[in-house]
C-alpha cells in the first residue's frame, strides 16, 4: 500500500512537469506590432579614411601556380616549383621473384606533370609552355618577379626579372581539348640537379611562350624513372609531390587611388573608419514613417550592411571564380597594416559570395556586406564583453590569399560610392494590458 500511495503521489506530481504556456488563439490581445523600416546613409555620414593595404599572405600559400604571357596585354606570370628530397628506396622483384626494398637506385630520367584548372584558365586552344631549371638561390615564400629572396636583412634580385635566366629543360603544349595536364620530359641531369636538398637554387620554372591566356596550374607531380641495382633490367617509377609551389608576376598592381580592393595574392585589404550616426534626419520617406530627427537605439538595428557597387577589375586580375568577401573589426588602426583583426562579422562561414562577372563583364552589381552586431555595438558603445568596440573595419577575402585575382568596388566620391544600409525595427514601449 505504501508503495502504491507513494507511486501515485510521485506520478501525480511528475506527470505534468512538462510546462507549456497557454497558446493565444483568435481574439487574443497582442501588443502593438513594431514597424520595420529601411534607410540608406551616405558615405560621408558614416565612414571615412578609406585606405587600401596590400601584401597579406604569400602566393605560396595558395599552393597553385599561374602562367601568363602578356595576359590582357600586361600580365606576365610564371610558376616556380621546388621538390623535396627523392625517395631513397624502391620495392622491386629480385631475381628470386620476391618483393624487397632496394635502396641502391639510380635516376635515369623522369617527367614533370602539370595539371591545370580548366575553369580558372582562360585559354580555349593549345598553349606552348616551357620548363626550365632555376639557376640562383630563391625563397618560395618571398620570391617576386624582381626578387629571388626578400626576407629581413637578405634581399636578392633575380639576375633577370622573372626568375631568370633558366636552363631550358623541355617545352610542351597543353591543349585543353585533349586533357587537363601537360608533361615535361626530364633527363638524368635534370633529375640529379633537383636531388640535392641543400641546394637553395633547385627548382623549376614554368612559363608560357604564347601571349594571351592566363593558366592556373592546380598541382604538379614529379615522376622519376629509377633503375634498382638488385634488378637492373627493371625501371621503376617514383612519384614526388612538390614541397613548394608559388608564382611570380608583373606588373604588380598599385593600390587604387579611388576605390575598394579586396583579394589577390598577396592579398589586398580595404580599411575604413565607421561611425553609425545616432540620429537620422532623412530621407523624407523615412521621416514620414518614424518622425525626424530619429534617435537610433542599438536594439532597433535589425540589419546593417555596407553596400558596395562592383566595378571592373584590371583585366589582368579579373576573377574567374567566385569571390568570397569578409568584414572584420580592426583593433588598432594606427598599427596598420599589422593591426590584429577581430572575428568575422558577416555571419556566414564562407563569407559573402560574389560571382566573378561582377568584376568583369557585368560591373555595377550591388553587394551587401552585413555587420549588424558590430553596428549595434558601435551604437551601444560597448560590445557583449563590455569593451569599447573598434571603430574601424577591414574588408578582405575570407581566405588570404585565394587567387591572383581581386575584387574592385567603387570608392568614396564616386556616384556609386559605398552606403550604409540600415533596417530598423521600431516598436512602441511595452505596456501592461
Amino acid at each position: 500500500m505504501r508503495m502504491a500511495a507513494s507511486t501515485a503521489m510521485l506520478c501525480g506530481v511528475v506527470a505534468a512537469c512538462d510546462e507549456e504556456f497557454p497558446v493565444g488563439i483568435t481574439g487574443t490581445p497582442l501588443p502593438a506590432g513594431p514597424i520595420t523600416v529601411e534607410v540608406e546613409i551616405p558615405w560621408s555620414d558614416f565612414a571615412s579614411n578609406l585606405e587600401v593595404f596590400g601584401g597579406y599572405g604569400s602566393p605560396e600559400d595558395l599552393g597553385v601556380g599561374f602562367v601568363a604571357n602578356q595576359f590582357a596585354g600586361t600580365l606576365d606570370a610564371r610558376t616556380l616549383i621546388r621538390y623535396p628530397g627523392y625517395p631513397q628506396a624502391v620495392t622491386v622483384r629480385d631475381t628470386t621473384g620476391a618483393q624487397r626494398p632496394d635502396s641502391s637506385i639510380t635516376g635515369i630520367g623522369g617527367r614533370l606533370v602539370a595539371f591545370f584548372d580548366t575553369l580558372a584558365s582562360t585559354n580555349t586552344g593549345p598553349v606552348t609552355l616551357g620548363l626550365g631549371r632555376v639557376q640562383q638561390e630563391w625563397d618560395p615564400t618571398t620570391a617576386t618577379w624582381t626578387a629571388a629572396i626578400d626576407t629581413i636583412n637578405d634581399t636578392r634580385a633575380w639576375t633577370e626579372p622573372g626568375a631568370g635566366p633558366v636552363l631550358v629543360v623541355d617545352t610542351a603544349v597543353w591543349d585543353p581539348a585533349s586533357g587537363d595536364s601537360v608533361v615535361f620530359m626530364l633527363d638524368s641531369a635534370d633529375v640529379a640537379a633537383w636531388a640535392d636538398t641543400l641546394d637553395l637554387s633547385r627548382g623549376g620554372r614554368i612559363e608560357s611562350f604564347d601571349p594571351g591566356p592566363r593558366l592556373q596550374i592546380s598541382q604538379t607531380r614529379l615522376r622519376l624513372d629509377v633503375r634498382p641495382a638488385s634488378n637492373p633490367d627493371t625501371i621503376a617509377e617514383l612519384t614526388v609531390s612538390p614541397r613548394s609551389t608559388t608564382f611570380i608576376y608583373a606588373p604588380f598592381p598599385d593600390p587604387p587611388p579611388d576605390g575598394v580592393r579586396i583579394g589577390g595574392a598577396p592579398s589586398w585589404r580595404t580599411i575604413l573608419d565607421v561611425a553609425i550616426p545616432a540620429q537620422i534626419t532623412g530621407p523624407p520617406e523615412f521621416c514620414a514613417e518614424v518622425g525626424c530627427p530619429f534617435e537610433i537605439e542599438p536594439g532597433q538595428v535589425s540589419f546593417a550592411a555596407l553596400k558596395l557597387t562592383s566595378r571592373t577589375t584590371d583585366a589582368a586580375f579579373q576573377p574567374t571564380d567566385t569571390v568570397r568577401l569578409d568584414v572584420r573589426p580592426v583593433f588598432d588602426r594606427a598599427s596598420m597594416p599589422k593591426s590584429p583583426l577581430g572575428g568575422s562579422l558577416v555571419g556566414a562561414a564562407l563569407g559573402r559570395a560574389v560571382a566573378p562577372d561582377a568584376f568583369g563583364s557585368s560591373p555595377g552589381v550591388v553587394i551587401e556586406i552585413p555587420f549588424t552586431s558590430f553596428a549595434r555595438d558601435l551604437l551601444r558603445g560597448e560590445d557583449e564583453n563590455g569593451n569599447e568596440p573598434p571603430g574601424t573595419l577591414a574588408l578582405l577575402s575570407v581566405f588570404e590569399p585565394l587567387s591572383i585575382a581581386f575584387a574592385s568596388f567603387e570608392g568614396p566620391g564616386s556616384a556609386l560610392e559605398p552606403v550604409l544600409r540600415l533596417v530598423l525595427t521600431i516598436g512602441p514601449d511595452m505596456e501592461l494590458p
Binding site: F21, V23, L30, V346, G347, M430, E431
Partner: protein, 394 residues
Amino acid sequence: MMSRLVRFNVGALAVGLAVCGLAREATAQSVFNAAGLGVPSEALDGRSRALGSMGIGLPGGAFMPTDPAALGRLAVATGVFANQPSWVDYSAEGGPSGSFQGNRFPLMGLAYPVFDGMMSLQVGSFLDQNYTDSRTGSVDLSTETVATNDEFVQDGSVSNLNLGYAQTLGTDVSVGLTVGRYAGTIVRTLTRTFGEEIAADVNSYVERGRWAYSGYHLTTGVSATLTDRYHVAASVQIPSDLDAEAQDDTDGGDRTFSLPVQYRAGVSATYGPVLFAASAVLADWSDTQSDLTGSVQAGSANGFGLGVEFSRARLWGRDAPLRFGYRRSTLPFSFDTNDVTERIYSGGVGLALNRTNDITLAAVDFAVERGRRWAGGIAENFWRATLSFQAAGF
C-alpha cells in the same frame, strides 16, 4: 509524531517536486490567461476541489485563505501543500486548436498555535497570466520582401503571501482574519524575427517590459456549527488596488488596477455518513474595466458549487471519504463582450494516513476535475488533478 508511511509519502512528494524543479517555473492553465489580468487561481486543497467548493463552508479545520475562520478549527500545528497539474485542449471557431499542459502549486502553508488560537503563514496563487502568441507578416524592403514573425510571451502571475489568525469562540463559532500581500512579477516580451529572404546577420528585435506587483488585502470570516448537522461560513476579502511597478529599464509605465471585494459563503449539512455542501462567491470586477486597454472586458466573477461526501468509505483499512462535486462560475475577464463561463465536474478521495484521538495527523486529498471554459467561439476542455498533503503534530 510521524509514521513511516507519512515519511515515505513525503519523500515521494519531495522527489516529484525536485524533478519538477528542473522544469520551468510553474505555469498556468487556460487560454483565457491572455484576457485582462488573467484567470483567478484559487488556493484550494484537494478536498474543496473534489467537492466543487468555492473554498468555504466545509466542516473541520482547513487551511485556505478563502475561509479564514476554518483555520481556527485546526487542533495542532499543521502544514499543507497542494500540487495541481492540468491538461487542456482548446479550440476556436475558424481558428486554431491544440493542447497544452502545466503544473501549479496553488497552496502552501504552515499553521501553529499562538495564544488561544491558530496563526498561519500561507502562500497562495491569485491570478495566472502566462500565455504566448504569435503573428506573421511581411515587410517590403527595397531589395526584397521579408517574412516576419512576432512572438509574444507573457510570463507572470500574481500570488499572495498571507498571515492569518483564527480563534474559536466557545465550541461552535470560529472567527478568522487574514492579512495578505500581493506579490509576483510579469514579464512581457515581443520578439520579431525575420525570414531568410534577407542576408545573414539579421538580429531579432526584442521589446520587453517587466513589472512587479504589490498590494494588500484583508480577509475576515466567521464560521459556525449549528447543532451537529449544519455548518455555515462566510468571508469577505477587501483588497487594495493592485500596483504594477515597472522594473529595471522597462520603458512602459507603472499601472494600478482596481480589485473587487470578494464575498464568499458556504453551508454544509451532515446526514449520517453523507455530507452535502454548497458555496458561492460574488466578485464584481467591472471597476477594473477602466484600468484596462484594448477590447478586453471586465465583469462579474460569480459562481457556486455543490458537493457530496460519503465518509464511510475505506481504503486499505483507513478512512477514505469519496467526494463528488459540481461548480459553475464566470471568469472576470473576456476577450470581448462574451462572458467566460467555467463548468466543472469533480470527484476525489481523501485518505487519512494517521489519526489520533479524532485528530488527523496526516492526510492526503486527491481530486480530479473535468471542466470546460467557453466564451463566444472559444472553448477549452481540461482535466485537472489536485493533490494536497496535510501533516500535523510536528
